[in-house]
Every structure is written in C-alpha cells, then in structure tokens.
C-alpha cells in the first residue's frame, strides 16, 4: 500500500490544487474568508484520508468531493455569510460593458452571487477549474444530465439578471482579452 503521506508528490499535488480549491470554496460559501477556512478543513481531511487516494487518479476531483461534503455537512448549517462581491476583488481586469463587448465584471459578480449554490458550484467546476461534466456529476453525486441542466439554468438566470435579451445587449466581441490566458480550459458552456 502506498504511503501518500510520506510522498513528496502527494504533498506537492495538494499544494498545487489549493488555488482551485479556494475558488471552488468561494463558489460555495461566497466569502473568501470562509472559503479559506473550508480549504483548511479540506486539507486536514485529505491528509487524514490520504490512504484513500489512489496515486495517478484525479486529485482535483477527490479534493473537490471532500471540500463539497465538508461544506454541505458543516458549513452550510452555520448560516451563509454575506456574499462578498466587492471587498476581496481588487480586480485587475477592467472588463467594461458596452465598448469592450463583454459583460461587466462587477455586474457579473453581483449576478453570480444571486444564483443558488447548486448552480454556482457547477459553473466553477465546469467553467473555471477544468473539470468535465462527468467529473462534476461524480463530485455532486448526480447524473450528468443533472449537471447539464444546472448549467443551462445558471446561464438562463445569469442572462436574466444581467438583462441580456438579445445579441445587441452584448457589445461586439473582441479577441484582445489578454488577461484570459488560461489555456486548455474549455469554454463554460460547451456541451
């Protein structure tokens, strides 16, 4: 039996997953402060259950499952903290509305905060942390179709909240969005 706790690789992979864990924790709790507490608990549990992780398998999915279970079983009962839509985000990205042809980031964050957790968590899983629909389904313990319908509902709800009714509501596209340098990640809504 492999001793993950003694393995440098295991520890280093844990560390490399922390940014994504924080992002996922944020999507659930809405507060970076609470998300970091959640990540702390997740790392402790992951360490404690290190033997249940098979090296070479998807550590991100394994960690996300732990974090998600921790959130729903422990954190959610404590009551939700106020959605932190502005304080934490010293956004270097000025994705302005009309001219830039994109959705205003401040508006987007406000709208995102209004989504139910089950929609927000699938958005981050599928749209920002590179997990597949199947992986998200496994983490949430639901069918792939359920994930897809949550993504679709999220998209519809975001559109409504952002007041997007027609193509003219989103300005002309530009490809010069140099900040979006995340390669290899699928577009949020590809199906």
């Amino acid at each position: 039996m492999t001793d993950n706790r003694a393995s440098n690789e295991f520890r280093e992979k844990l560390i490399s997953e922390i940014p994504n864990l924080r992002a996922f924790g944020m999507s659930l709790s809405g507060s970076l402060h609470q998300a970091d507490d959640l990540v702390q608990d997740t790392l402790l549990k992951a360490w404690g259950h290190a033997d249940s992780f098979t090296p070479g398998t998807n550590m991100r999915a394994w960690l996300f499952t732990i974090l998600r279970n921790t959130y729903y079983s422990l954190y959610r009962r404590r009551g939700r903290e106020v959605q932190d839509t502005e304080g934490v985000y010293a956004s270097k990205v000025a994705v302005s509305g009309g001219q830039e042809g994109a959705i205003d980031l401040a508006d987007f964050r406000i709208a995102l905060a209004k989504l139910p957790e089950e929609q927000r968590e699938v958005l981050i899983m599928v749209g920002a942390t590179g997990l597949s629909y199947q992986e998200a389904a496994d983490i949430c313990g639901v069918a792939v179709g359920t994930i897809k319908s949550r993504v679709n509902r999220a998209r519809t709800k975001l559109s409504e909240l952002l007041g997007i009714n027609g193509a003219e509501d989103i300005g002309p596209d530009r490809t010069v969005l140099a900040v979006f340098q995340q390669s290899g990640q699928s577009s949020l809504f590809t199906s």
Binding site: R5, A6, R11, L14, I15, I18, P19, N20, R22, A23, M26, S27, L32, D36, V39, Q40, L43, L44, W47, V88, Y89, A90, S91, K92, V93, V95, G101, A102, I103, L105, F108, R109, L112, L123, I124, G127, A128, T129, R155, L158, S159, I164, G166, A167, E168, I170, D173, T175, L177, V179, F180, Q182, Q185, S186, S187, L188, F189, T190
Partner: protein, 67 residues
C-alpha cells in the same frame, strides 16, 4: 470548442440578431470569459501561508511519529 472558435464562428456567421445560434455562441463566450475573469483573481493568487504552514506541520508530525 475553444474561445477562438466561438469568436470566429460569430464573426463569420449570420448577422441577424434574431439568429439564436449567434446569440447562443456569443452569450456562451461572454459568460464564460466573465466567469474566468471572476475566478482568475483567486486561481492566480499566491498560496496563503496558512496552508503551507499546515502541510509542513502535518508532514513534520508524520515524520516524528514514524521515528
């Protein structure tokens, strides 16, 4: 579908605003980019010390217990 594909499809396609495929692709792209921008702040942020300290402590405890 990559973002570039979405942009190219949009630019080359039907210009009618009622064309659902166009709105769909455009909306997908815009929402996807906004989502990534939203989370990029966290994902690209340096790892807080508290986590590195935690893991170092856990590792040290493991080593002590083994000896």
């Amino acid at each position: 579908m990559s973002e570039r594909d979405i942009n190219m499809n949009f630019n080359a396609g039907n210009s009618s605003p009622e064309h659902n495929g166009e709105l769909d692709a455009k909306l997908q792209g815009a929402l996807g980019r906004a989502l990534k921008a939203h989370y990029d702040d966290i994902i690209s942020a340096p790892i807080p010390d508290r986590f590195l300290v935690l893991l170092a402590e856990l590792e040290a405890k493991e080593t002590r217990d083994d000896r």
